[in-house]
Each structure stands twice: as structure tokens, then as C-alpha cells.
Amino acid sequence: MARNRAARVAGLVLAIASACSAPPDSGVAPAEAPGAGPEATPAVRFVDVTAESGIDQVLPSGTDSTYPMPAVMGGGLAVFDADGDGDLDLYVVAPAAGGNRFYVQQEDGHFTDATTAAGLEGDGMGCAVGDLDNDGDLDLYVTRVGPDRLFLNDGKGVFADRSAAWDAAVPGWSSSAALLDYDRDGYLDLYVARYVAFDPARVCSQHGGRRDFCGPTEFEGLSDILLHNLGGNGFENVSAVAGINAVEDAGLGVVAADFDHDGEVDIYVANDADPNNLWIHQGSGRFLDDGVLQGAAFNRWGNSEAGMGIAAGDADLDLDLDLFVTHLITETNTYYRNLMLPGFEDATIDTELGAASLDLTGFGAAFFDADNDGDLDLAVANGAVKRRPSALATPGGVDAPPAFWSEYAEPNLLLVNDEGRFADASAQPPWTELGLSRALVPADLDRDGDLDLVIANLDGAPRILRNLTIDTGSVSDEPAAANWLQVRAFDPRLGREALGARITVRTPDGPRLLHALPPGSYLSAGPATAHLGLGAAEGVQGFEVVWPDGLTERFAGAAANQVVEIIRGEGQPK
């Protein structure tokens, strides 16, 4: 509805712009024609199936007339197989007390609320998922404004709070968390990004004094925390030894991966209004923040932006991990292209990723191949943190979010990769619907071979957007053009997925890089099974896997349209 209304006034807008054109003798240097953008928007179709999914609980923000800052920042999500039955379940994290919900997916695809039975009541900001005790099931770490909580899984989807026994109750306002095995001892360590030293007494306002939520610059930032896993029995805080506590920034998004291919896992943190950190692992448990010199701390203009969520993926198909960071309204989201110098460059302009985001506040984001055509597209969850200059929602309209949020609600974005440039493909529902979206996770919920999306919404139900690519075919409506492969990297010595494994796949269209990693984003966790769109290709010729401990193995190819499990030790060592 907001877009239609906006379209009605476009004529008047253009009239103002054209009335301001300079005469030919204005003394202004001649302009170049703007680069031609992608010619057509591919028809990638999603449909909102939340109503029939069985998920009907809202994610309570806990906001009120005091404008508590955590209420506008929260909204986490985990998509993972909690009960080991082979399908994906959901855990939704809410800032308001008692707001968290755990949904188990049934055989028919419906979800049922199992929060109490699973022992997962509570509140929080975000979460991370992984097998922390190497017992073959996925455990859950919940970040909070206050001590964090660790839940260990019994293998059947029932969880026990082991925060105290594991020394996992990180204090302060934690946001996103990432699992990594930085010391290669086979046990997953945990990086916890922390936000600000929030003071609820602080009153903030804008627009001539109208009260509103505070921003991060009102408070001191907090240093992040690195927890070393002590053999699956507990954590030790090694932040000081690792050098992580050297900075106190307002951390929100975090991704752990080997960005420079030196064999050591690095950590990238998106900070809100502070420079982003690129913690390069020096190889001995110590990390050095090299974000400034490697071009990933600031944007092209040398400005630190309001970093929220992170997407990591090989968007330009040159076999390294690029980064995409979401930001505040009036800032563009920023695409950092990995140049492997080592270093990055802000290539937001070249990829045409700026304009679509300039009027929106981005949070969760993920690179994923929405149309199974072999390159990575982007989805971004949006919602303002302060009143928008102009409200997009019509109060009482069909697209209206809860009344409190009418001046904050925004639509989400789908950006489709067309040979390195991204076209805005958000003109149709469900992308036109307005809300306060935060965490976003792509995952193949219905196991049909394309990636669906789950999006957490403040004071709304988490939305499930089903991808119709397999149902309808991709660009050409021909099902054969949307082949796919899913790759699970498994380490039998550890009895769990090899989180962080780097997989190069030889495809008929050239090599493609995958990672056994959750898809990044914001306050969220997702499956580490890697997804690859193959377009018309009916298979791949082979895999080369760099395992987290440094071993490189080659594996034979596979036919399309299946989940392939690659097992460490069963390949040809390189």
C-alpha cells in the first residue's frame, strides 16, 4: 500500500526535479550517463505461509512509553534440527520477559509450540547454535541484556540450562554470537558480541524534542567476549589473552571464518556507529584488529556506520568470502568485496547495492541463492529504530503494524544478483508488507531444494516465506533451470558437522565456494549445511574441502538435487 501511495505522487516529484535542471551554460562539468543497471528483475517468488504454518505467537518487544532501547533492537532466531528428526525447528528469541518460543516442525511441515516441554522459556536478544559438547546434537546459546544462558541438548530436543556450570553467563548486553574452533582442539569456542552499557534512565528524543529510542552513541560500548571451550565441559573467558578486550565498541553482528585463507579462523564484527572489527587470528590464540588497514572497518567515505547485521558469501564468484553489512536509514548498506590482498574494498556503488537501502534501516541479512541460478542473492530484514522521517504504514490499513510501530515499520528487501549487480526484486508481496523485522535466516524448511526464509518481527509473528523456485522454475519457468545441491561437511572424529569447513565445488559453470557455516545475519543462527544453486547443470565434477584443522581432501562429484554428506577422512588427501 505504501508503495502505491508513493507511486501516485511520483509525477509531482519529477516535476520539482525537472524544474531545477541547470541551463546548458551553467558552467557545470558535463555528467556521464549513469551505468546501465540490470535490465530485468528475475522472477523469484516467495509466498508468506506463516498463517498455515501453525506459528501464531507474536514476538513481544516489551516496548512502552519509556522507549526501552532493547525493545527496538531485539528479535533473534535459530533455525536448526533440535530434536534430530531430520527437519528444521525454530527458536524465536524475544526481548520481553517470557517471550521466547520454541517450535517443533512436524512431519506434515506444521509447527507446534514446545517451549515448556523443551525447557526453553525465557527472554533474550539473539542466539547461536552448535554442538558444544561433541555429543552429536545441537546446543543453544542465548544472548541477553543481562547474563547469557547456555542450554545443552539431550539429543531429543529437551534442553538443560548449564549456564552456571559452563561459566557461560556473559554479563552485560550481548547481541550476536558465533561458534568457531580457533585453537583447533576439536571443540567449538564462542565469540559473543556485546553492545552498550545501557542505562534505562537515559531519556532520548528527536524531532523537536519528541521522545524516542536512544541510539548507541548515548552509551559506552562494551568489549566483546571470547570463550574458550574446555573440552566440552565448560568455558574459560580468554578475551584478554586473545586481545579481544582491547576495544569497547557497540557490537551487533558477528561472523567467524577464514577471510584471508591463511588457515586460521578470523572474526568480523559489525559495530553500531563504531568502526567494524576484523579480528585476524595471529595463529597463537591472539587476534589483531586489522579492519582499518584491510578496508573493512569503515565505508568508502571513511565513515563508521551503524553496523547491524552481516551477510558473508562469495558474491562475486572469485572464491573468497565477501561481506555485506546492514545499516541505518540515510546510510546505505555496504558491500565489502574481498580482494585477498589481504583486504577489502567498499564496492557498494559498483554492485548497485546502495540505493535500495538508503531509505531503510537494515538488520538481518543473508547471501543465499534465491533462484538456484548459481550466484548469491541477498535478503535484508528492515525496520527503523527511530521514527522515520515519513511513515510508510497507513494507520489501520491492511499493512499496518501494531500502532506503536506505525512510524517505524518498513518493508524487507530481496536483491537479485545479475552478473555482479543486484536488482531490487521487492516490488511484489510479501516484500511490500511492513513490519519491524530483525533476524533473518535462509533455510530449506520444506526440503524441496530451494531456500525459504524465516524472519523475526517485533510484536508480530515470525514470518515464514516459502520459496517457490522449485515449484515454478526460476527465471524461465522451466524446472530444470533450478537444480541444486546441499552439502553437509561431517567430521566423524568429532561426531558433528565440521563447522567452518571451506568447500570448493567444481561445477560446469566454474568453481564455486561454499562454507559449512551458519549464514551470518543478525542475532540469529541457522543450519551449517551449504546450499548451491546449479541452474541447468545436472551435477558437479568434484569437491575440494579444507577442513577446520587444515587437512585438504578431494571428493568425487555428485548428481544434482540431493543432499551430499562429505565425510572427513574419506576423500583423497591433497
Binding site: C20, A22, G27, A31, A201, G209, L358
Partner: protein, 432 residues
């Protein structure tokens, strides 16, 4: 690529100026401060009295923009430009606001402004930046170069040339241009960090590291010498805007201007502790300790837990000789932040002054265990430990003194301080 920013941008313009009518765009002022509401009422009355006055529309637009009512400001500037087409400032201010939503939409507006005044370098720089944002790098380069010719001291023009060179892979040229920008605007962090990156790309990683480290102490303030745009922000009447303007003045050492803004803000809303605290800091910097102390007291009375106010007040009391007051306030500051080493030092100083050796040693030991990283605080702690050690030597307590010297030496070695050698010698003497 997408029509959304353009559509949203001028939605307000379209809805408030329907064909043939001249409705006044009206911002939502519920909850706004009284001074702001009063100002808008007055400007709207001016417009109703003379709806064909372009300058009145422009002034109204400036007030709207100053209070972040962006859409309404765009509508008002658009009307001002229609009514006064030869005025430079209306299309320029409109362009700068449009630029926040869509660089592409701002281009004709900047060009319209520059057609009226081609020599206003800040507008030419903004046009160049909009061209850069839309990927028109060659045109942007020409406009930056033109702006640099018009105003060789325009740091943003040189920075633009450097940024484009860096993106083009010419790291040497980037270093040259960005170094010039940094010379012209040493306070600008953006220029410094981009220069650091350019040095790294050019192969001089060490120099890049030095510049990046120095840039850490710089704030986010991105000052532009642009009188036309600055005049907008001067119109904001809400209390926070006074504080924001005062902070900008402080960064440039303009303490008298900062004080003026803060006193005006306090007149608008005297119940805001952050205004009093900022005034205390400004008065301390401009050499008025008594005024500073009074302002800090008011801030503390209004919000005792306001970040930084208790330590500030403790230091101010100490400097004015009120040792009891300083000690009490420092203890209070430590209650709020148990790890504040600077307050531990103050407690130790006052305790030493009063001859309370036990308390002095106890607090210094606490400060030592906190391992302060801030160089000034660490240096202060080293000095204090050393002084206490000397006092202990003088009192015939060499063993206790050695303990103090050991701690001082430990901190000095950790920091790589040149004082370490002297401390090592002194410790050896004391032990002998």
C-alpha cells in the same frame, strides 16, 4: 534500480502542495519542546500572512530541517525555489536533503544551485560526492578538481580525489591527495583512516598503522566549512541541539561559542543535566574553575549517575582545595564504577595528603591490580607508586618501599615506558 527512495522522498511535497493550493506543511509537534512549537507557530503565521514570499518558505524549510522534519522541509524548500528561482540557497539546501535519500535525485538540484552560483565550492564538492555515489567517477573527479581549484583549502575536495584514486588502484596518488586533505583537516577521522588504508595499499603498512592508531582518538565529527548549510543547524531550538552545536564548537576550541550555546540551551530547559555537565567541561577548559564547579554540582544534583559527572566533580573539588569534598565524591564515583583507576588515584592522593598511609597503600594496590591501559592514568599511577615508595624509604621502610617500586616497575615495563630503567636502578638501590 528502485523507485522507493525517490517516491518516499517527495511524498510529503506532493501531499502538502496539491495543485493550485499552498498548504503549509505541518510537522507533528506533539511532545515537542515549547520553544520549538512556538517558533513553528510564528513561522507559519508569517507564511499565512505572505504566502507568495519565497524567502519565508525557505526560512520555514530551514527551521523544519533543523528539527529533523525532513519531508516537510523538502516541501518548503521546493516551494521557496519555485517562488524565488534566482536564490542559490533554496535549490542547494533542497539538493542536500534530497541527497540523503537519493544521490541521483539530488544531481539536477545541485546543478540548478551551481547554475546560480558556480563558485560556491562546498556545493561543487557535494555535487561531486553525489556523482561518486551514483558511480559517475570521471565526472566526480572533474568536479572535485574544480572545487579544489576554487578553494585550495577545501579538504573534502582533496579527499574526494584521493578516494577515487584509491578505488582506481592508484595508491600513490591516493596517499598524495589524502595527505593534503589530512593536513587541511587534522580533526577529520574519515580522511585519516582512508589515508591509513592508502598507505597500506601502497606497501607502507607501518605508516598506515601509525595513522590508524592516531585516528582512534578522533571523533566522528565531520566538519565542513559550509556557511549555507551551517546556518540551518543554528536554527534548532530543542535542548539537545544546543548541546550538539556546543560539542561541535568544543572540538574546534571555540569555547566562548560553546558556552553561549549551552547557556541558551539551559535557558530553554534547565532540567537537563547533560547541558550543565557540558557547561562545566567547557568552563574548565576556558579557565573558569569556580563556574565549572558550580555547573558540575548542578549536573550532579539533577542526575548523580550521569556518566562522568561524579569523577569530574571529584577532580574539580580537589583542584579547588576541597579535599573532604573531593574524597567523598571520588568514593561515590568508585561506587558507580569500581574500576575507575583515576578515582583510585585521587583517593590515594587525598589519603596521602592526610597522612593516611594504610588507605593510600590499599587504594594504590587496588589500582595496580586493575592494570590501567590509558597511558595518562597509568603514568599517574606509576608516579604515585614511586612517590609513596620514596616516602617509605624516607621513613625507614625499605621493604615496603620495594613493594611499591616493584609495582611501578611492572607497569612501566608492561607499557614499554622509558621510566622502567630508572625504576629498575632505584629498586636495586633500595633492596641493597
Amino acid at each position: 534500480m528502485t523507485a522507493r527512495p525517490l517516491n518516499v522522498l517527495l511524498l510529503a511535497a506532493a501531499t502538502v502542495v496539491p495543485a493550485g493550493a499552498q498548504q503549509i506543511p505541518t510537522p507533528r509537534l506533539d511532545g515537542a519542546e515549547p520553544a520549538v512549537r512556538q517558533r513553528f507557530a510564528s513561522l507559519q503565521a508569517d507564511l499565512r500572512a505572505d504566502p507568495g514570499n519565497g524567502d519565508a518558505w525557505g526560512r520555514y524549510g530551514m527551521a523544519l530541517e533543523a528539527h529533523t522534519f525532513t519531508d516537510e522541509a523538502i516541501a518548503a524548500y521546493g516551494r521557496a525555489h519555485e517562488l524565488s528561482p534566482r536564490m542559490f540557497r533554496w535549490p542547494y539546501l533542497l539538493a542536500a536533503l534530497a541527497d540523503e535519500r537519493s544521490a541521483a535525485d539530488s544531481l539536477p538540484l545541485y546543478r540548478a544551485a551551481l547554475a546560480i552560483d558556480p563558485d560556491y565550492a562546498p556545493a561543487r564538492v557535494r555535487l561531486a560526492e553525489a556523482l561518486e555515489r551514483t558511480g559517475q567517477f570521471d565526472a566526480a573527479n572533474r568536479e572535485y578538481a574544480w572545487a579544489a581549484r576554487l578553494d585550495p583549502a577545501n579538504a573534502h575536495a582533496h579527499a574526494g580525489l584521493g578516494r577515487l584514486a584509491l578505488a582506481d588502484g592508484d595508491a600513490e596518488a591516493a596517499v598524495r591527495h589524502l595527505s593534503r586533505a589530512r593536513e587541511l583537516a587534522a580533526e577529520n577521522r574519515s580522511f585519516a583512516v582512508t589515508l591509513a588504508q592508502a598507505y597500506a595499499r601502497a606497501g607502507n603498512r607501518q605508516r598506515g598503522q601509525q595513522i590508524a592508531a592516531a585516528a582512534r582518538s578522533l571523533g566522528r565529527i565531520n566538519y565542513r566549512n559550509d556557511p549555507v548549510r551551517s546556518s540551518v543547524h543554528d536554527l534548532a531550538l530543542d535542548a539537545r541541539s544546543y548541546l550538539r552545536r556546543a560539542n561541535a564548537h568544543r572540538v574546534h576550541g571555540e569555547f566562548d561559542l560553546a558556552e553561549r550555546e549551552l547557556r541558551a540551551g539551559i535557558e530553554v530547559d534547565g532540567a537537563r543535566p547533560e547541558l550543565h555537565f557540558a557547561l562545566a567541561e567547557v568552563l574548565a577548559a576556558s579557565g573558569d574553575p569556580a563556574g565549572s564547579l558550580a555547573a558540575a554540582r548542578r549536573a550532579y544534583e539533577q542526575h548523580p549517575e550521569l556518566e562522568g559527572v561524579a569523577p569530574f566533580l571529584a577532580r574539580a573539588l580537589f583542584q579547588t582545595g576541597d579535599l573532604s569534598g573531593a574524597l567523598a565524591m571520588a568514593e561515590e564515583a568508585l561506587r558507580l564504577d569500581a574500576g575507575d583507576v583515576s578515582m583510585m588515584l585521587l583517593v590515594a592522593l587525598v589519603s596521602a595528603e592526610r597522612g593516611d598511609v594504610v588507605r593510600t597503600v590499599e587504594v594504590l594496590d587496588r589500582a595496580y591490580r586493575e592494570r590501567p591501559q590509558d597511558p595518562v592514568t597509568r603514568e599517574g599511577l606509576i608516579r604515585l607508586l614511586t612517590n609513596v615508595g620514596e616516602a617509605m624509604v624516607g621513613s625507614g621502610l625499605p621493604d615496603a618501599a620495594a613493594g611499591q617500586f616493584e609495582k611501578a616497575l611492572d607497569l612501566a615495563e608492561e607499557a614499554g615506558s622509558p621510566e622502567a630503567a630508572g625504576l629498575r636502578r632505584r629498586l636495586a638501590q633500595v633492596r641493597r
